[in-house]
Amino acid sequence: MIFNKGLLAATAAMALVTAGGQAFAQDVTLTVESWRNDDLAIWNEKLIPAFEAANPGIKVVFAPTAPTEYNAALNSKLEAGSAGDLITCRPFDASLELFNRGYLAPLTDLEGMANFSPVAKSAWQTDDGKTPFCVPMASVIHGFIYNKDAFDQLGIQVPTTEAEFFAALDKIKADGTYVPLAMGTHDLWEAATMGYQNIGPNYWKGEDGRLALIAGKEKLTDPQWVKPFEELAKWKPYLGDGFEAQTYPDSQNLFTLGRAAIYPAGSWEIAGFEAQAGFKMGAFPPPVENAGDTCYISDHNDIGIGMNAKTAHPEETKKFLNWVASPEFATLYANALPGFFSLSSAPVKMEDPLAQEFVSWRDKCKSTIRSTYAILSRGTPNLENETWTASANVINGTQTPADAAAKLQAGLDSWYKPAGN
């Protein structure tokens, strides 16, 4: 129903703006292609008015497609030459493919790109890192969301190290009121994304490990890559009854109904959880091995925006992209969508306390992206998809961490040859 309403609203909005465009024929109208139809209201009520007020003479139309249809619809529009001026970019290979086929314009000389760190740009650039083609818009951060009331009731401090983390889990389990960890393995990706990619960066040292893996200097069978699996295997006794058949919505409900104490999370949950949960919530980053270790977080690039290479209004489009790269947009966007964090290097003030907590980790921890997303998932067997199965197997106890890692590395070796080797 939400989807239908979104489409209706989109059609209505397009009709309105088209009418408006005819009235002011001298205005340039830019169309934004996107899969975020959930964000239609935010674009029409907050983002577009702010841009149009600052840039008279340019009108912007936000024209989203359903998420599952976006890639296919966008491809056919680009082929037919009927795509909008601004293209919302999926991270990594999907957008790289569009750039390689000449549909996305290079943004090397866009001034606004200076506002972003190399990690922020990593999802939308050529493999050599020289040519960016999308402005990073938002990322999602992994961590753990916990039930503050439960922690207070049981007298548990927020854990910062692994030992404290498992001590807290033991205490919750011994008390018996709450399921210690709300996670299931049925949908597989939960185990990989909320589990492996959540706690992993602390072991493989974030970007260092990820880049070394791509360069072929490290292997998935190295201890720093196997350790996250060993940790995951230890989670099994703390999961709910029948976690093998527990789905992602089950986990969400288990936590928001107050039946679980800790939820291995992605920041995109924030808005939904705050609407659902009737208790206070807090968040903590993945615990480090020893007190005082540098912490690493998965700050995964999710949404970017680029320029259609065949746009009729390149100057106006660039103006819009520069605005998206500005701190002003970052503040508007991050506050409208708590949990989707701006990738801008400029500090962004956010109102939502849980979102503030998540984003504060960027100052004390080092950011990285999910290890399997860039370059390493281009072949068959697909490393990301295999990691889903491996993580679930390890938690289910049907595969040992070492076996899981060996199988992943063997799969990767079968098609991936690191550059220079």
Partner: protein, 316 residues
Amino acid sequence: MAAVADEGTVSGVRRKPIRWHIAVFLAPAVIVYSMIMIVPLVGTLEQSLFQRVDGQQVFVGWQNFQTLFGDPRWATSFWNALWNNVYFFIIHMLVQNPIGILLAALLSNPRLRLRGFYRTAIFIPTILSFVIVGFAWKLILSPLWGVAPSILNSVGLKFLFQPWLGKEEYALTALGLISVWQFIGIPMMLIYAALLSIPDEVIEAAECDGITGFSQFWKIQLPLVLPSIGIISILTFVGNFNAFDLVYVAQGAIAGPNYATDLLGTFLYRTFFGFQLQQGDPNMGAAIAAIMFLIILAGVCVYLFLVQTRLRRYQF
């Protein structure tokens, strides 16, 4: 037409006139069927012989099939999916069809009350969408809010409950039984119709000979509905080897846990269309589709040439 006939008689040779009307009358069906069935089928078989190299489709002969059977990774996935599919089929043959026949036999008993109600009630799941069936059963079997654990609990059998859909050793059996639950109406209806069509004289003659009750079913009715059972078996075979929807809805495209519920259909889907970060490979997908086609073709041929010919001889 008249002109053609005249010419035939004038030349004195008894030539058969070309019967254009046959072609004309067949054309609509042949054209439509070719367009929507034959052309895509040939297209798929053709696609399986090509591979994308540097953005171009290049003819590679049997290379895709060599990869599918020769590369240990592809071969493992393929044989796993094929074995799961065979197992899925066995469950249907052992559970769905015998129970379907039994239900039909019970329903055809004239002394049974509320026959219409039972018939409808048992048939209803068949017309439900896979999405509804998959979702409903996921809820029923859910370890958190499912009815299954609470019912077992209320009779003190909670220890029997397992998160069936999440365990490698049970997941496929559970899905097979869900599918049986959904489709049991089809064999039931076909057999029911076949049982009703048995002439009363045959039954009466049997009764005169003192054959009643169960032995009547076993010795008279069952042999007479064997052709229908054959048809049901082949329908089950084709349906099972094309199955995809239920697994996709209940377990997702990766057919977890650990590919325990991966059928040829889901394997084909992942390969052809890609999934998440995995890019689709239409050529390898077409190769899998071609193998599926051959398996089904072989199965149907075995039925047609070995089973059905014997059944006919038995009947007359």
